[in-house]
C-alpha cells in the first residue's frame, strides 16, 4: 500500500536542526585538537623566491608551520590528481597541495600554521615572509588567447586548456537553405557557491587502529576517499571520510581540495587532531565557482521561425587550474539545443586558463549557460520576426509524440543524449496560464499609463539528471523492528533521509519514523559516488526501493513459514505480517529479524541467510531528463536601472514526485539562485587578477526582500528509466531563471529597443543601455 510516496511528509531531519542540534564539521570537538589557518597567495601570478617561516614557528602556541616541502607525502613533488581525465583537455594542469615555486591565483594555498587556537594560527600567518616575484596575469577569458596575452602558467605555450565540440546534422545545408540567419554575442557570468556553511576539514590519525578519519564538509565523501588514498598511496579502507551535516553544497563542495590533503597529512605529522574551517573571505577565493563564458552564436531558421541549425563558438573561463576535468565545458554544450528539435548543430567551446580561482560546477553546472544561449536565440528570432516568444518556442519544441527523443548530441561517456519523457508544449501552457500571460498586455499598458515599465519573459529548459552509475542502499530490519537504512549519498540539506524513509516505509509497512538512517560515511557504507547533478533521487530512489522490496520478499517468505500460511494471504502493515482475515495470526518484523540473527548455537531457517537485510545498487538505466517552463514578470525603473521581479511562475516536470513539498523547496531555492545570477551575483577581479568582491557587502546574494513569491505547477511525466518514474529536481529551478528574467527586462524596455548582452543585469549596466538607446533615438 502506497501511503508515503508522493505525500508531503514533514522532514525527519528538521527537529534536530531547528533546535540547534545539528552537527556540522565545526561543531565537532576532538580531544587534543589543534587549529589550522592557511597562508594564501596575495598575487594572481608570481614566482615564489623563498618562504621564511621562522618567526611564525617561534610564536607561543604554534605547533608547526608547513610549506609544500615540509609535507611528508610519498610524492611531494607531484601535483594533485585529475579527478575527471578527458581527451579534450590539452593542458592538464592541477595545483600542488601547497604552492611550490609559482602561484597562479589569489587564494592559492602557500603555507599552513597549526596552533592552539585559530586566532594564534592567524597571528602566526602575519609573521610568514614570502618573497614573491610578481608576474603578469591573464584575467579576461576573451583576450586570453590573444598573441600578446600573458601566460597563466610559466612554461605553457598558450592559455588554451582544452577544446570540445558538439556537432550533428548537416550544418552547412541548414544555413544554406534558411530564410533567415540571425547572430548574437553575449557574455554570461555565473557567481560562486556561497553555501552558508563554508568548507571545513577535521582530521584525526589513529595509526595503530583504523588509520585516518576525516570529517569534511563535502558532497562526495567517496571521491575524497579515492583522491586522498591515491595521494597518500594507502588502501582506501584506511581512509575514512565522514560528511556530517553539511550546510549547503551547490556543486563546489563536490570536488577534492588541497586542504583535504594538507590537513590530514599535517595531523598525522604532528600526531594531533587538526581542524581547519574556511572563513568567508577564503571562500570567495579558495572555493571554486563559476564565472565568465562568452558566446558567439548564429541561428538559421525558416520564415516562420522554425530553427534549422545553430552554430558558433564559446570561450569559457577555466581559472588557473583544472581540478575537475572538463565537466563545466561538457555540461555547457551537451544540453544544446535544449527543449527544441533542431536538426543541425555545430558549437565549439574553448576553455582557457586565467589567473583566477579555478572554476567548477555551481548549481546546474554548465547547463544554465547552454540553455541561456539557446533561449537567447529564440528571443532573437522572436524579436527579428515580430513573433510572440512563447509561440516561437511552441513551433520548435520537441513534441510529446517524439519521445523518447535523441537530439543528436553525445554525452560525456559517448552515449546519445536522449530525452526519455515529457510534454514541453503542455508544460509551457501550464506556465503561461499560471502567469496569466494573456492578461499581461493589459497590465503592461495600465502600468505604462502611470509611467511604469513592466515586462514579461518566458523560458524553457531541459535538465539531464540522475547521472549514474549507482548510489547504493542497504536496508536492514533489526530485532527492535526498526528499519536501518544506510547509503553513501551525502545530503547538504536536500532531505535524503525523509525521501528514502518514504520509499522504504511503503515497501515494509512501517511509518517513516521507524526508519533509522545513516549516510555519507565511508566507514559505514562501502561504496558511493556523491551528490551532484540532481542525481540522488534517480539513483538512491531506485536502490532503496529495490533493497526494501527484496527485504519485503524475504519477510513474506519467512512469515509464511512461521505462520504456516501462504504468502498470498499475508499483509504487511504497522510493522507486522498478518494473515488476511485472521488478524490475530501475526508476527512482527522484529521477531522475524531475530529469527535470522540468532546467537551462539542458534539455527538459521533453511533457505535463508543471516541478517534480514538486502543491498541494492539499482539506479536509472540512462539519464532521466526533467523539463520546465518559467515566466517572469518584472518592473524596470528606467531612471535607476533597478529591476524588481513582481511575479514568477514555474511549470516543472521531474516525473513522479516522492515528496512534492521538498520538490517545491528545490525548485524555489533553485529559481532564487538563478535570479541571483541574473541580477545580483558578480565576482569581480581587477585587471591584475585581484578579487574586488570578497564579502557580502560587495558581492550581493538574493535576499528575501528582493525575491518574489514563486508560483509552481507540476506536470508528472514518469521516467521510464527507473521503477519509481522519478527524475532529479535539484537544478531545474536555476537553469531557466536567467533567460526568463533577461527576456522580461528586454520586454519592459521594448520601446527603447534594448538588447541585453550580459548578466548579471545590474543597475549600472542597464542604465548604460537605456541611456545609449535614448541617445540613439535622439539622433
Amino acid at each position: 500500500m502506497v501511503r508515503y510516496t508522493g505525500a508531503e511528509v514533514q522532514r525527519m531531519e528538521d527537529p534536530r536542526l531547528l533546535t540547534g542540534h545539528g552537527r556540522y564539521v565545526d561543531d565537532i570537538h576532538v580531544h587534543g585538537m589543534l587549529h589550522a589557518a592557511f597562508l594564501r597567495s596575495s598575487h594572481a601570478h608570481a614566482r615564489i623566491r623563498s618562504i621564511d617561516t621562522s618567526a611564525a614557528q617561534a610564536l607561543a602556541g604554534v605547533h608547526g608551520v608547513f610549506t609544500q616541502a615540509d609535507l611528508a607525502v610519498p610524492d611531494t613533488a607531484q601535483a594533485m590528481n585529475q579527478l575527471y581525465p578527458a581527451p579534450v583537455i590539452h593542458q592538464d594542469i592541477t595545483q600542488h597541495p601547497m604552492a611550490t615555486d609559482e602561484v597562479c591565483y589569489v587564494g592559492q594555498t602557500v603555507a599552513l600554521v597549526a596552533a592552539d587556537s585559530r586566532a594564534i594560527a592567524e597571528d602566526a600567518l602575519a609573521l610568514i615572509n614570502v618573497d614573491y616575484e610578481p608576474l603578469p596575469a591573464v584575467v579576461d577569458c576573451r583576450t586570453a588567447q590573444a598573441d600578446d596575452a600573458p601566460l597563466a602558467h610559466i612554461g605553457s605555450d598558450n592559455n588554451l586548456a582544452g577544446q570540445l565540440k558538439s556537432a550533428f546534422g548537416d550544418i552547412d545545408d541548414a544555413f544554406a537553405k534558411a530564410d533567415h540567419v540571425f547572430a548574437a554575442s553575449f557574455m554570461q557570468h555565473r557567481g560562486g557557491c556561497h553555501s552558508m556553511e563554508t568548507r571545513g576539514v577535521l582530521a584525526v590519525d589513529n595509526p595503530h587502529e583504523d588509520g585516518l578519519t576525516i570529517w569534511s564538509s563535502t558532497q562526495c565523501p567517496y571521491l575524497v576517499r579515492r583522491a586522498l588514498a591515491n595521494h597518500l598511496g594507502e588502501p582506501e579502507d584506511r581512509v575514512r571520510i565522514i560528511a556530517p551535516d553539511v550546510g549547503g553544497g551547490f556543486g563546489p563542495k563536490a570536488g577534492f581540495y588541497a586542504e583535504e590533503i594538507v590537513i590530514p597529512v599535517v595531523a598525522r605529522q604532528l600526531g594531533r587532531p587538526l581542524k581547519w574551517i574556511e572563513d568567508r573571505r577564503e571562500h570567495f577565493t579558495a572555493t571554486t565557482g563559476q564565472r565568465d563564458q562568452h558566446w558567439d552564436l548564429e541561428v538559421a531558421c525558416d520564415k516562420d521561425g522554425r530553427m534549422l541549425g545553430l552554430r558558433g563558438t564559446v570561450t569559457h573561463e577555466n581559472g588557473a587550474y583544472m581540478p575537475y576535468g572538463a565537466l563545466l565545458p561538457f555540461t555547457s554544450v551537451t544540453p544544446l539545443p535544449g527543449s527544441y528539435a533542431i536538426p543541425a548543430l555545430d558549437v565549439t567551446l574553448n576553455f582557457v586558463f586565467t589567473n583566477t580561482t579555478p572554476t567548477t560546477p555551481v548549481r546546474g553546472a554548465g547547463r544554465p549557460y547552454g540553455i541561456y544561449a539557446v533561449e537567447r536565440m529564440v528571443e532573437t528570432i522572436a524579436r527579428e520576426l515580430g513573433l510572440d516568444p512563447a509561440e516561437v518556442r511552441r513551433r520548435n519544441f520537441v513534441r510529446a509524440d517524439q519521445m523518447p527523443y535523441e537530439t543528436g548530441a553525445k554525452l560525456r561517456d559517448g552515449m546519445p543524449v536522449r530525452y526519455d519523457s515529457g510534454d514541453y508544449h503542455a508544460c509551457q501552457d501550464k506556465a503561461l496560464e499560471l502567469a496569466d500571460y494573456t492578461g499581461f498586455k493589459a497590465r503592461q499598458e495600465a502600468a505604462r499609463a502611470q509611467g511604469r515599465y513592466l515586462g514579461i519573459g518566458v523560458s524553457a529548459c531541459i535538465e539531464d539528471t540522475g547521472v549514474g552509475p549507482y548510489e547504493g542502499t542497504t536496508v536492514r530490519i533489526e530485532p527492535s523492528g526498526k528499519i536501518m537504512v544506510r547509503t553513501g549519498a551525502a545530503s547538504q540539506g536536500q532531505g535524503h533521509h525523509t525521501m528514502i524513509a518514504q520509499i522504504v516505509s511503503d515497501q515494509l509497512g512501517v511509518r517513516p519514523d521507524d526508519v533509522l538512517f545513516e549516510a555519507a560515511d565511508t566507514g559505514k557504507f562501502p561504496q558511493g559516488v556523491g551528490t551532484i547533478g540532481s542525481r540522488v533521487t534517480a539513483n538512491v530512489g531506485p536502490s532503496s526501493f529495490d533493497a526494501s522490496n527484496q527485504v519485503r520478499e524475504t519477510v513474506l517468505k519467512l512469515a509464511a513459514e512461521t505462520l504456516e500460511a501462504s504468502e498470498q494471504d499475508l499483509e504487511l502493515e504497522d510493522g507486522e505480517v498478518r494473515v488476511t482475515g485472521a488478524p490475530d495470526v501475526k508476527v512482527t518484523l522484529g521477531e522475524l529479524a531475530l529469527k535470522l540473527a540468532p546467537m551462539s548455537g542458534g539455527k538459521i531457517p533453511a533457505g535463508f541467510s543471516p541478517s534480514l537485510e538486502a543491498t541494492s545498487y539499482l539506479g536509472s538505466s540512462g539519464s532521466p531528463v526533467a523539463s520546465g517552463s518559467n515566466v517572469a514578470e518584472v518592473e524596470v525603473d528606467i531612471g535607476t536601472g533597478e529591476v524588481r521581479v513582481l511575479r514568477y511562475s514555474v511549470a516543472h516536470d521531474c516525473g513522479t514526485m516522492i515528496n512534492p513539498m521538498m520538490v517545491d523547496g528545490q525548485i524555489i531555492g533553485g529559481v532564487v539562485h538563478g535570479i541571483g545570477n541574473a541580477l545580483f551575483e558578480r565576482m569581480i577581479y581587477d585587471d591584475q587578477g585581484q578579487p574586488l568582491t570578497t564579502n557580502y557587502g560587495e558581492y550581493l546574494l538574493p535576499l528575501a526582500s528582493e525575491m518574489p513569491h514563486i508560483d509552481i505547477v507540476h506536470q508528472e511525466s514518469p521516467s521510464p528509466l527507473n521503477p519509481l518514474g522519478v527524475k532529479g529536481a535539484g537544478e531545474g529551478g536555476t537553469i531557466p531563471a536567467a533567460p526568463a528574467i533577461v527576456a522580461a527586462i528586454e520586454n519592459a524596455l521594448v520601446d527603447f529597443g534594448v538588447v541585453i548582452d550580459y548578466y548579471p543585469v545590474d543597475p549600472q549596466y542597464l542604465t548604460g543601455l537605456i541611456d545609449a538607446a535614448q541617445a540613439q533615438a535622439a539622433e
Binding site: 514533514q10 522532514r11 531531519e13 528538521d14 527537529p15 536542526l17 531547528l18 533546535t19 540547534g20 542540534h21 545539528g22 552537527r23 556540522y24 565545526d26 561543531d27 570537538h29 607561543a60 586566532a119 556561497h194 553555501s195 552558508m196 556553511e197 563554508t198 551535516d245 553539511v246 550546510g247 549547503g248 551547490f250 572563513d279 568567508r280 547538504q492 540539506g493 536536500q494 532531505g495 513539498m661 521538498m662 517545491d664 523547496g665 524555489i668 531555492g669 533553485g670 529559481v671 532564487v672 539562485h673 564579502n695 557580502y696 557587502g697 546574494l701 535576499l703 528575501a704 526582500s705 528582493e706 525575491m707 513569491h709 514563486i710 529551478g733
Partner: protein
C-alpha cells in the same frame, strides 16, 4: 600573552562563568567555550545573520559583539528557544510544517530573528516579514517557506495570546 578577562553570562537561563580572551567574539564564545554549537557563523562580518542570538531579548549578531560585552547580560541561543519539555517554539514548529529549512545552517539565526521580530510585530504582512529577514541570508530555500513559517507562527502566537 593575550589579554584575558573573567565574565559571567546567563545563557538560556544558566549562569556561565569563564575566562575569555578579550578578542573572542560572542559567537565563538558560545560555540567553542560554552559548547553550544547551534549558533552558526556564516560570514564573520555581520551580513548573513546566521549568528543571531537574543541579548536581553533583542536580536544581536553574535559575530559583531565581543564576549566581554555580554558580561552580566542574558543571552538566548537557539538551544534555549524550545520549552523545557521539548515542545518547539511556535516559530520552530512553523518552520517544520512549512519546509522553512533545508541544510539548516541559516536556520538558528532565522528562527531567532523571526521570534524577536514577532514579539514587536504580532501581525505582520508578507512584505514586512520579508523586510524583517532581509538581514538573514539563506542560500537553500529561496525564503518562501521561511516567510510562510513566519506568517503562520505569527498567527499561532496571536491565537495563543
Amino acid at each position: 600573552m593575550a589579554d584575558t578577562r573573567e565574565i559571567t553570562v546567563t545563557i538560556n537561563g544558566q549562569a556561565e562563568t569563564r575566562a575569555v580572551e578579550t578578542r573572542t567574539n560572542l559567537a565563538d564564545f558560545l560555540r567553542h567555550e560554552v559548547e553550544l554549537t547551534g549558533t552558526h557563523v556564516g560570514c564573520e562580518h555581520g551580513v548573513c545573520g546566521a549568528c543571531t542570538v537574543l541579548v536581553d531579548g533583542d536580536a544581536v549578531r553574535s559575530c559583531l559583539m565581543l564576549a566581554v560585552q555580554a558580561d552580566g547580560h542574558e543571552v538566548t541561543s537557539i538551544e534555549g528557544l524550545a520549552a523545557d519539555d521539548g515542545t518547539l517554539h511556535p516559530v520552530q514548529d512553523a518552520f517544520w510544517k512549512n519546509h522553512g529549512l533545508q541544510c539548516g545552517f541559516c536556520t538558528p539565526g532565522m528562527v531567532i530573528s523571526i521570534a524577536a521580530f514577532l514579539k514587536d510585530n504580532p501581525d505582520p504582512t508578507e512584505e514586512e516579514v520579508r523586510s524583517a529577514i532581509s538581514g538573514n541570508i539563506c542560500r537553500c530555500t529561496g525564503y518562501q517557506g521561511i516567510v510562510a513559517a513566519a506568517l503562520e507562527a505569527a498567527k499561532t502566537m496571536r491565537q495563543e495570546g
